[in-house]
Amino acid sequence: MKRSVPFEIFRYAAIFAAMAVTLVPILWMVSMAFKPIGEWSATGADLTWWPRQPTLSNFRFVFGESDNDLIVALDHTAVKPILSSLLSAVFGTVIAMSAGTAAAYGLSRFGSGQNLPLALTQLRLFPPMAVMIPVMIMWAFLNLNDTWLGLALIYGIVTLPFAFWLMKTFFDDMPREIEEAALVEGCSRLRVFTRITLPMMRAPLASAALFVFILNWSDYLIALLLTTREWVTIPVYMASLSSSMTGQLYGAKAALGLIAAVPPVIMGIAIQRHLVRGLTFGALKQ
């Protein structure tokens, strides 16, 4: 449909306003990450939107290098929290994707596990805080508290609904002819699944895995409850970046926040096409 010129002007104006609101908070963090300590909490006339003297010292600081301008030094660098976030998110994704893909195929092709759609939808409905008390007790019993493995296990369960629903819609959409042809050729059903269906679904599998990884990587509450010191994840660790002497270590927090924010944003843009499907549990496709 042809639009009028005033409409186009209005459209661009509105979009630019929305972009400004979208970007200001992000740019403030990016800018803060490169600010030296003197500019961190400058206020009033001294407040700067861009670092006057851009520096990488905030990044060096969170990785353990002492900063001459800061009296404090870290007894615990960001390396282990980054490792913890990575390990728990990756293995959580592996758990969710393995169980979710298998179950989705079982339901999509053989009608097994009719209770799963409802059970997994309910799992998503519940606030994590309302189911975490027994989990904390169980994890203490299993010696999984404050370990990346314990986090990975609960992440795998929490994101299982997303893996299941995404893969189910992908399997439902997939044409059956090739599978049927292979069956005719005498392949067992399991072989058809592992040798024919899964390789064909490589791209959807990758998209679903990235989607699940983003969700795992984004967790805060579960890690806050289940990790205390050894295996805290990035967001939990960030809370420790303040001290009674210097107050909030804004620059260090922003630097680490930037490190945490970049991977999911890039992945999210990469799988943009499937975001609607994942978020609506396959009720909507783009």
Binding site: G113, E180, Y220, L221, A254, P264
Partner: protein
């Protein structure tokens, strides 16, 4: 998906298909769904029973006995009667509702407005689209730190306000009970409007263009086209989008807790924050379990009711 062509014609297939073996399929299906079933059971049945058990006791990790011995601290449903009279609980619930009633409609209207602007093609659409989706991909905890910085009294929000007003503005957003709640809601709206935008745009693109053209020819203006064609077509999608945000918003914790910790006082304490504090700060797990279970039961009833309604709506032909 790559183009897939069947190499065998139908006749051939009919002739060569082995007798169907439903058993093999059923057995494999059972085995494939088993891990998911175990995980679901592992996180639902046993924990729920444990939660129920603990919720009728005064047990806490500090009580010196294992949770399985919690019956020694049986308090005859005192947790549940306490809950009914707990004003802090009810006000947390009320606050959660207020946040939801402000944020979800705001996100919906802003998302719908943006989606309408993106309904047809224009130069730069793809890049604008990607940028506008960014907030929902930012780790919520990091968004919390971002808005914590933004709302400092000497921070950029006040700086922008100062430039608009012309005099220095030094509002202490996060330490004023009323403003803190507003700041928290702003952060939520910033982060989740893109989700509404994304879903509603997907629905808007599905509205058939020929109907729109026909309506235009018949003299319908943009508003009439929107209310008589677009909205009815998008009804399901709108319901889904709203349901997702209502569910997620009810859980609100990460950004809020990092920005205010539920404070000042209890000014931004939502239901998740309250359970968190009861459990980790007051360490009264029996009571925390009772609150959590009450919330779960209410949510389950709502969910079953909503699903029944949706099933009924589906029976009515569109």
């Amino acid at each position: 998906m790559s183009a897939v062509t069947a190499t065998i014609s139908e006749d051939e297939m009919g002739a060569r298909t082995k007798p169907a073996t439903p058993d093999e399929g059923a057995r494999l299906g059972f085995r494939l769904t088993l891990p998911a079933q175990i995980l679901v059971l592992f996180i639902s049945a046993f924990p729920l029973l444990m939660q129920l058990y603990i919720s009728v006791t005064d047990w806490s990790p500090l009580s010196g006995i294992g949770w399985w011995n919690a019956w020694e601290m049986w308090n005859s449903f005192a947790n549940y009667t306490d809950l009914a009279a707990d004003t802090r609980f009810w006000s947390a619930l009320q606050r959660t509702a207020i946040v939801m009633l402000v944020c979800v409609p705001a996100e919906f209207l802003l998302g719908l407005a943006l989606a309408t602007l993106f309904a047809d093609d224009f130069p730069g659409k793809r890049i604008f689209y990607s940028i506008l989706l960014m907030p929902m991909m930012v780790v919520p905890a990091v968004a919390g730190y971002m808005f914590f910085m933004l709302f400092q009294s000497g921070g950029p929000v006040n700086d922008i306000l100062s430039r608009i007003v012309g005099t220095p503005v030094t509002i202490a957003w996060l330490s004023d009970p009323n403003l803190a709640l507003i700041a928290v809601m702003v952060a939520d709206i910033w982060q989740w409007t893109p989700l509404m935008f994304l879903i509603l745009l997907a629905g808007l693109v599905g509205v058939p263009e020929d109907q729109m053209k026909a309506a235009t020819l018949l003299g319908a203006d943009a508003w009439q086209r929107f209310t008589t064609i677009v909205l009815p077509k998008m009804k399901t999608i709108i319901i889904i989008a709203l349901a997702i945000r209502v569910i997620e918003n009810f859980k609100i914790f990460d950004t809020l807790y990092i920005m205010t910790g539920g404070g000042p006082g209890v000014a931004t304490e939502t239901i998740s924050v309250y359970i968190y504090k009861v459990t980790t700060q007051d360490l009264i797990w029996g009571y925390g379990a009772a609150i959590a279970l009450a919330i779960l039961i209410v949510l389950s009833i709502v969910a079953v009711y909503a699903m029944k309604r949706m099933a009924k709506a589906r029976e009515v032909p569109a």
